[in-house]
Amino acid sequence: MLGKFFESLYLKVFVNVVVKNSTTDVYIELCSSKGVIDNMEDSFNTTKMSEEMLNFITSYTRETPFSYFSFLDMSPSQGAIPTCSKNRLSYYYDVSASEYKCHDKKWTHYTSKSDLYDIERRYKETGVDFVFSPFSILANFFKDKVDSHHAMYILVQEAFVSLAVFDNSELLFAQHLDMEKITESDELLIDTSDDILDLEDGIELEDIDVMGTDDSLDDFSDIEDLDSLDEIDEFSENKDVEEEFYQEEDAELAESEEDGFNEDYQRFSLIQSSMNRFYKDDKFESKFIENVYIADGVGVSNDLKRYLEEEMFLSVYVRHLELGVEVSELAREEVGI
């Protein structure tokens, strides 16, 4: 009773940390019982807890005992499994060395225990209250679509791409892709045709033959009906008009960021290989994907969308996302504000 009274007198501070390749974004929200009253963010050129970052955080947290430190899980050994049944978890992934959490009693997201301990050790000065999976962010961000659409949802971060296929809130497939560490199995799944681009030498747009090569479409052998124009029209009917409206707003922003061309192609490659895995792996219930919703957390260029649309014939919708804000939203939901 007295504790609740004192709690109501204090502001709640949500410190949300998103670690990128070489920087760390800290987004702070000050909340009262009525909601968010202020927010501020800063970026630090370090991936560890620096004194500058600690000073920035403590300048807001020292005034209240109710400060919550939330982290977006950056573990490369994480993912999501389309079941909550403990007996069936091992069918998809060996979770003996992982911490896992069932989401809405429908699907499970997991991460490496050692990476969790690493986060707690790395941020022991501030402590850690919440660690969220990118898949939770993705499901929450596209909540309006996930519950009623069948589509692929992609969270694009600087170093990771989190990909999930939902069919009316049921997870069919999910994969967390590390851009710096493409596993051998992924490489095998990537189309190894002659016209694959050499990323080290740069990319010549002329070299990319989007429609001309049959090999690039070999993996989509089960969509032969696309040859029919009528069927293509049906695709167009399935387009999400509302999403296109939002997309036009983001178009100018995307066009201004052309420097991420190589990364976007890398992302495209990862997505493509992941889709191949989804279609080919018998573990997963394959359903043909027409729409792709991208949660853009880094400001991807228009190329990624173009690759996906032109090479994979997908309807792509890009929504810009502030990772810190989304992490904070989950933290607030956990606390009950």
Binding site: F6, E99, L116, S133, L330, E334
Partner: protein
Amino acid sequence: MKYSYITPRPKSAFTAEIQLLVTFFSITLGMLFITYFFLLFKDYTFLSDMDELAVVQSELSVNIKEMKEQITFIEKENLLAQKVYTQNTVLKDSIANLFDLVPQRITLSEAKLLENGLVLYGVTPNKDIYNFMLQAPLRSIFHRTYSSFYPAQNGWLRFVSTNYIDEEINLSQEIESEN
């Protein structure tokens, strides 16, 4: 937790500062309450003492009144005693004077002191000696004097002298003397 892999650390509003503040205010309030209750107790004891003192005061007043009455009574007794003493002294002097009045030739055999009188029995050689040497001074003292004689065997006369002082006259004389 719905989304997070880990549960948040427990948060408490009772930080070290709050604990210090609460402790400080608790001690302060405690001291205030103790002081308040002490004052209440003292007020209660003061009132009860005051009531007791009022009772004692009334008792003492009654005692004082009784003592004053006693003093008055004692003063009266003292006055009475002094009066009795004076009267006794006067009586003693009177008796001494009375015996001084009796001449050597007259012998008293008995004397009765009455409240307002004196009866003398004795032997006188003759009436003249009695009349001149004893009756004359008795008459000066008493208002009424009666004498009777009868002869004794040796030829002397036995006498009985009865003398009275009238009280009204005596009182009026006293008042006059007091005035």
